[in-house]
Amino acid sequence: MANVLVFTESKDGKLKKVSREALSIGRKLAQAAGGDLVGFTNDRALANDFGKYGAKTVYVTSAGDYATESYASALAEAIKQSGAGVVLFGGTSNGRDLAPRVAARLGAGVASDVDQLEYADGKLRARRPVYSGKVFATVEVTGSPAIATTRPNAFPAEEVEGAVVNPQVTDIAADATSKAKVVETKTPEAGELSIAEADIIVSGGRGLKEAQNFSYIRDLAHAINGAVGASRATVDAGWIDHQHQVGQTGRVVSPNLYIAAGISGAIQHLAGMSSSKHIVAINKDPEAPIFRIADLGVVGDLFQILPALTEEVKKARAH
């Protein structure tokens, strides 16, 4: 029997989607392990939301804004108190910052960026992409707790059916002061979605010909409420910031819809996006490797097709 504890984060007063995804798979693991689902948050106002995902207990820390060391202390304490045998983190910047810190403190193993999880025979078994998606590794995490960070969009966020029971709330004091603190947060382009968690990504490659033509990508991304992605070549050329880069040395992403325009499909790029659920590619070269993995390939001129598509999307959304 093992309880499953999920570290969650919130944005604008709501549980982040990746946290809801982690809670949902966490509930399934808890069922398999014969234990309970347990939540961890810094926002008391959200405590009852955890009931929708089947959590019996929620630990609320007073640690305030995220800082690695104070959160590591609070979370380690919650893991101890809850007797959690499995701990999950949504694969966000903070989740990926905190999971290994806590793991080292507890002598625990971590499976990073997993897209499948199961609990059987007292072990946490996970599948994770390695070599930026060129290979899948199945790993077993032994010992207690077993830790995993979940890849955004890999697990569905599902609320429990039937009556929701409000969870019991337990306070966790934050005792350690952090030797590293956030002094400022800069949001460069307001409202821009991050490729890490986006459901839809519109990506541009060298076929855009020059930096300013990323406007074709941005216009469609904006219309369809997606994030802007980019190939390595465009990032290396300085056309767009690195945080948009998809692929090895960028982000490995799995959105519901990936639209690649002017991207030929170098092995590095394909590895980073081929697990997307639906792939549309627009390229003027009918032999471009991207067409081998595209569900819908369009051989044509992106400078004509993208604006037409942007208009169609706007019309569709207006209805």
């Binding site: 290979v135 995490v141 032994t142 947060t185 949001t187 369809i224 819809l257 051989v299």
Partner: protein
């Protein structure tokens, strides 16, 4: 200002990866190995600190015999010392095992900042940096795109979802480098020649005070590697009529991806 850069030697990112006969390791035959790309940003930042305020840049790796070549490359670019904890089965250690080796190895090396890449390219775990920080009791700043050091502290920019945080940390600290931190230099011929004269300090796991049990007590075990299923590719249509192509794409987005 003394710095340490922990590096990993990894298969070239252009490699086609093949799975080995045991189904749990990759087939290294014919693979070209390089310094993990994120470690290059870490190394460059350390060399720039040395150029500004003196001190040593010690590169450290835990790996088999061939990893010595990666250390040589770092020396050629401007690192001043190198430490190789050698084990032929290093690939069988999990991230915590690696972090333990690094923590033990650098204990006797003076340092103010410990740099690593934000992840080792290939295994893509992104775990060793924060684990090392915890074992050393240091603060950590992860995924750093800009940094300055002064007055016993460092100020670093960290990439988060759609934004950037500015973080202040006391020294010593662990920093993991993201692409964009700097523009790594190539080794000069002079650097390559000079590097040949620098001895690599080679140690065993026992030399750094650890047992095999400490390092290879794997919490995370790879039981299987497999290639992703070949995607067959779907429909390919002619886009010479942009309006018709746009309508076709929209139909796909609405009906199959259900994204609108």
């Amino acid at each position: 200002m003394n710095t340490i850069v922990c590096i990993a030697q990894v298969p070239d990112t252009e490699s086609r990866i093949k799975i080995g006969g045991d189904g749990r390791h990759i087939d290294e035959t014919g693979l070209k190995f390089i310094v993990s790309p994120y470690d290059e940003f870490a190394l460059e930042e350390a060399i720039r600190l040395k150029e500004k305020s003196g001190g040593d840049v010690t590169v450290v790796t835990f790996g088999p015999e061939r990893a010595g070549q990666a250390l040589r490359e770092c020396l050629a670019r401007g690192a001043t010392k190198a430490l190789h904890v050698k084990a032929d089965n290093a690939a069988d250690a999990d991230s915590l095992g690696i972090a333990k080796v690094l923590a033990a190895a650098i204990k006797t090396v003076p340092h103010d900042v410990v740099f690593l890449g934000k992840q080792g390219v290939g295994t893509d775990n992104s775990l060793v940096g924060p684990m090392l920080a915890e074992l050393l009791g240091y603060p950590q700043v992860n995924v750093v795109t800009h940094m300055e050091v002064g007055d016993g502290k460092l100020t670093a920019h960290r990439e988060i979802e759609g934004a950037e945080e500015v973080i202040e940390a006391s020294l010593p600290a662990v920093v993991t480098a993201q692409k964009g931190l700097n523009d790594p230099r190539y080794a000069s011929l002079k650097g390559i020649m000079a590097a040949k004269k620098i001895p690599i300090d080679t140690k065993s796991i026992a030399d750094v005070g650890l047992s095999d049990g400490d390092v290879f007590n794997q919490r995370v075990v790879i039981t299987k590697l497999e290639l992703p299923p070949e995607k067959s590719g779907g429909r390919k249509i002619d886009g010479s009529d942009p309006a018709a192509a746009a309508r076709e794409i929209l139909k796909y987005i609405k009906e199959e991806a259900k994204a609108l």
